[in-house]
């Protein structure tokens, strides 16, 4: 089981589009012993306001390659802890307008329980450990 997993962490300029970065093919290549019965996608969307003030966008900043290194390290930890087959992450850098997706997490697993657990744990740790910052672009300032 251990080691037979697919991990990726990618920075994307601007918003993430639906369907970007699918890894279905590479998970298929893991073979029958690692087959997938649950695919979970989580998308973080830029909200229209922050602390009550209207936003037009968020500007995201990363610190490559530390950002990717930390993103992959966490994915490896969680893959081992939960036994999921694949953890794939896309995160925006640069400007992402309100309503658009800035973060996409896709987890593939044999069953739903460990997939949901892995997604929750990944997001929690990412928000503590992966160097990514956002700056608000307020309505009126843009």
């Amino acid at each position: 089981m251990s080691g037979a997993g697919v991990i990726s962490f990618e920075l994307v300029d601007g918003p993430i589009e639906a369907g970007q970065g699918r890894v279905a093919a590479s998970v298929d290549a893991l073979g029958e012993a690692n087959e997938v019965g649950a695919v979970l996608e989580f998308c973080g969307v830029v909200r229209r306001s922050e602390r009550g003030r209207a936003l037009v966008a968020l500007d995201y900043e990363a610190y490559p390659p530390m950002t990717q290194n930390e993103g992959v390290r966490i994915a490896q930890d969680i893959l081992e802890e939960t036994g999921v087959r694949a953890i794939e992450v896309l995160h925006s850098v640069g400007r992402v307008p309100v309503g658009a997706c800035s973060f996409l997490l896709r987890v593939q697993s044999a069953h739903r329980a460990e997939g949901l657990r892995a997604a929750s744990a990944y997001i929690e740790r990412m928000k503590q450990e992966v160097p990514l910052w956002k700056l608000p672009v307020w309505a009126g300032d843009a």
Binding site: E61, Y63, M66, H91, S102, K127, V130, P131, L132
Partner: protein, 89 residues
């Protein structure tokens, strides 16, 4: 006159901290000759840059893209970065 033996730290800043400090690199003099730990560097940053006094204590120091423990010594020749409160996702 600057101490010719004092080491100089160049600390990279990001996101809200870069905005608060109004710069992307902070230059700091280290103590003459002596080694500086990550914890001490955070204290130095808070002293040297009042705009970062509030956030520096809760930040971490990365050297060559790895987070240091507070007691680890910072190599001033390496790439030093201030990893402030993260806000991705």
């Amino acid at each position: 006159m600057a101490d010719p033996h004092a080491v100089m730290f160049e600390v990279r800043l990001f996101g809200p901290q870069a905005q608060l400090a109004g710069r992307r690199v902070l230059e700091l003099d280290g103590p003459a000759g002596g080694a500086v730990t990550a914890g001490q560097l955070l204290e130095r940053i808070a002293e040297a840059c009042p705009a970062l006094a509030a956030s520096a204590p809760a930040s971490r120091v990365a050297v060559d893209h790895r987070v240091l423990a507070p007691e680890d010594v910072v190599d001033p020749a390496a790439e030093v970065a201030l990893i402030g409160l993260i806000s991705g996702g």
